[in-house]
Amino acid sequence: MINLKVNGKAYQVDVDPSTPILWVLRDTLGLNGTKFGCGMAQCGACTVHLNGDAIRSCVSPVSRAAGKEIMTIEGLSDDITKRLQEAWIAEDVPQCGYCQSGQIMAAAVLLRNKPNPTDNDIDLGMSGNICRCGTYQRVRNAIHRAAKMKPKAVK
């Protein structure tokens, strides 16, 4: 049994410790917002937060998350991620949408580290998240928009 904390809730999962976090989230816990893209940490679709870092869940064994906090796209609730959700809607960012949960999880880490990012900061922070629809310009606009929004009260 492995003890996990996902989006603030505690879970005990009975899986092989080498199972990638992605499959525990999707198959064991039914949290399907996190996507499988390449399975080898190349595309960023599976990005979730582990103790605040934007890890690639497809190559990270669940043993790595024992005793730590995972946050997925379903768990977005703090100020930054709320602003990102609003900005994403306002800019109408997604096309097919498959990469977008990974994009938002990466953008959240960027804004936490760099509250007012330049275009270059966005390039550096987001270059690991591939979008096959080519929504990069809208991703960039949405991050700038989220950065300019007034901080909101956290629940």
Binding site: A41, I55, K114, D121, G128
Partner: protein, 228 residues
Amino acid sequence: MKKNTGDSRFSIKYFLYFVLALGFITAVAQPFNNKKNKTISPENKAIAAATITDATTINDKSDADKKREEESANAFNEVYKVLMHPRCMNCHPSGDAPLQGDDSHIHVQNVTRGPDGKGLYAMKCSNCHQSENVAGLNMPPGNPNWHLPPANMKMIFQGRTPAQLARQLKDPKQTGKSMTQLLEHVEHDKLVLGGWNPGDGRTLPPMSHEEFAKNFREWIEKGAAIPQ
């Protein structure tokens, strides 16, 4: 023509006389010369002998030093082959992005070094690189402390000649390490050893880690010579 031949014979004759006379004078003068040598006091002779002995020793030492220096430089040339291999050089790039593959292309996610060498924002090394290699062909290799040299101590290998790299490694201001610490890094750092366990689909450096460390030690112990 005849006159010229006669003149020439005349000159040769006088030249021969001159040579014979010079030979005679030299022979006669020689004993005087020996006598002059005998006038050197025993004390002076001893000093002269000592000087000669010292000079001989210095010459011997210099030969030994030269040999040592050559061996040291040769050992570094072996070390250099490993340092410039993609498994080592890819994490010692001249720019701020790590390199990938045997062709040392820029890391495809365009990862950036960051101040501590561990990446930036959502692009931290450990986001993908686990504490050990992920199983499978060309999957991310792993280490608990995966990183590039930090921004204030970049330790660039890419593009360095053997002499430049040897000078750089000898300069604690550029390595942040003493030679002893450098040797420790080369012999025991798991990130260095990881070069010989790079995961499926990656080539190995051109010699074993043991051989590499042996050459590195020899380079240092024989004076850390700068190869030509």
